[in-house]
Amino acid sequence: MAFDSWTLMLIFEFLLFLGIFPLLIFGWLMSAKGRNAIRDAPFESGQTHLGEARQRYMMQYYPYLIMFVVFDVVAMFLFTWGLAFTALPFAQDFLFLVFLVILVAPLGYALYLSGKTEVW
């Protein structure tokens, strides 16, 4: 019986699901159940909670988000390049290295700026 890798993965996940889903059902059936206002309140270290938690939060993540979009795509291309590195003639590898340097230079400048002005 030879299976495809993905079939084996799905079989594995399915067996794991069969193993842990009954635990959840068991816990649901066996556990005590009781409702009261204090128990059903969200945990806020003993304070009375003030409504929904789904509000706006200030996270200051925007510069990182831009960098993530760039480097997430680049990382995937880098993997294909790395796989073919020794197979390619060096002149073509070199072009990609130049591209990497172009990518790193602004990053280094951003690092320098952030160290200077504490933007982030």
């Binding site: 019986m1 299976f3 890798s5 993905w6 084996l8 993965m9 079989i11 594995f12 996940e13 067996l15 794991l16 699901f17 193993g19 842990i20 889903f21 635990l23 959840l24 068991f26 816990g27 649901w28 066996m30 556990s31 005590a32 159940k33 009781g34 059903d40 309140a41 969200p42 945990f43 806020e44 270290s45 909670h49 929904e52 938690a53 789904r54 939060y57 996270m59 200051q60 993540y61 990182y64 960098m67 993530f68 480097f71 990382a75 993997f79 790395g82 796989l83 073919a84 590195f85 020794t86 197979a87 290295l97 990497l100 790193v104 990053l107 280094g108 951003a110 690092l111 952030s114 982030w120």
Partner: protein, 344 residues
């Protein structure tokens, strides 16, 4: 054709079942590199963590359940199974339970591609490395869903922090293993281990190793990077509103992740199943994995927590630059003609 029309007899069914259960594939999936292995190891790691942390802090740790308290995880599991599952009234209880379940499924999935010995792997994938990273990158979204679904401020903040941290540290983690891919020219994890026959990758890729280890610490949300569940700030982070079996699954998922990340470090940098003596290969692999996990636990016992802005800044600027520097070091290694040592 005649057989297809009639139903199979009872004996045929039994023999088919026996054939499936005793087949190598089934045993691999259920017993050794598969389910039983990871669940037992994750349970053992919870015990190991408590014991090692206790030793670091000059305590004794769990003692009464079995020898050296080794049955403590089972006692904890049974206790949690009978605990009441309390979900806040504003929370989405079904979503929370579903997410805890899927967290466990995601945490266990990378084991499919990780080789525990020569040929002892559930699915020998040619894109094993990409598969493992793809599965790991599913974590943040599920964790954010848990934080959002529990509708509690601590959970939501923990989920957001976890998302940012894991997304940020994914990039250095990917780029730090690029050197290995360049040296071996393959993404198959078994081939990567075989390439370390002479020298482990921890030596030529020492920069990548440091970056990868740091990024793994951040991905695992462990001290010094445990911002998402910083106890003094956010009670238990995104796990605050999980309880009972849902908490157990989330907790087990975190330790399964710890085990599999240690296994990944072993595979990529520490020679996988290779070892100097004629000890069976899986023994070497599990031994190395537990040593790496113990080091991660000892780090938890001895370091303080970093601040959240420093964490993100260090991840994006320092680690990313170091990972890119590692690529250039690898290029120089290959240009010097030293890559024959690791070529498969």
């Amino acid at each position: 054709m005649k057989r297809l029309q009639g139903l199979p007899t009872f004996q045929e069914l039994v023999s088919l079942a026996v054939r499936i259960i005793t087949s190598r594939t089934f045993l691999e999936i259920v017993v050794f590199p598969g389910l039983l292995n990871i669940l037992l190891s994750a349970a053992l790691l919870t015990w190991l963590e408590r014991k090692v942390i206790a030793r670091v802090q000059l305590r004794i740790g769990p003692l009464y359940a079995g020898m050296w308290g080794i049955l403590q995880p089972i006692a904890d599991g049974v206790k949690l199974m009978f605990k009441e599952m309390i979900f806040p009234e504003l929370a989405d209880a079904k979503l929370l339970m579903l997410c805890a379940l899927s967290l466990m499924l995601i945490a266990a999935a990378p084991v499919v591609a990780i080789p525990f010995g020569d040929g002892l792997v559930i699915a020998n994938m040619d894109i094993g490395l990409i598969y493992v990273f793809a599965v790991i990158s599913l974590f943040p979204s599920v964790i954010l869903l848990i934080g959002w679904g529990s509708n509690s401020k601590f959970s939501f903040l923990g989920g957001l922090r976890s998302l940012f941290q894991q997304v940020s540290y994914e990039i250095p983690m990917w780029l730090s293993v690029l050197g290995i891919v360049m040296l071996t020219g393959t993404l198959n994890l078994s081939q990567i281990v075989k390439a370390q026959q002479n020298v482990w990758f921890a030596l030529p890729q020492v920069l990548g190793f440091v970056v990868f280890f740091t990024a793994v610490l951040a991905e695992l949300e462990r001290i010094p990077f445990d911002l998402p569940e910083a106890e003094t700030e956010l009670v238990m982070g995104w796990m605050t509103e999980l309880s009972g079996v849902a908490f157990m699954l989330g907790f087990l998922a975190m330790y399964t992740k710890l085990y599999l990340m240690s296994a990944l470090i072993t595979t990529l940098f520490l020679g996988g199943w290779l070892g100097p003596f004629t000890v069976p290969q899986p023994v070497w692999f599990v031994l190395k994995t537990f040593v790496v996990a113990s080091i991660i636990v000892i780090i938890r016992g001895s370091f303080p927590r970093v601040r959240v802005d420093l964490l993100l800044k260090a991840g994006w600027t320092r680690l990313l630059l170091l990972a890119l520097a590692n690529i250039f070091v690898t290029v120089v290694l290959i240009l010097l003609g030293l890559d024959w040592v690791w070529r498969v």
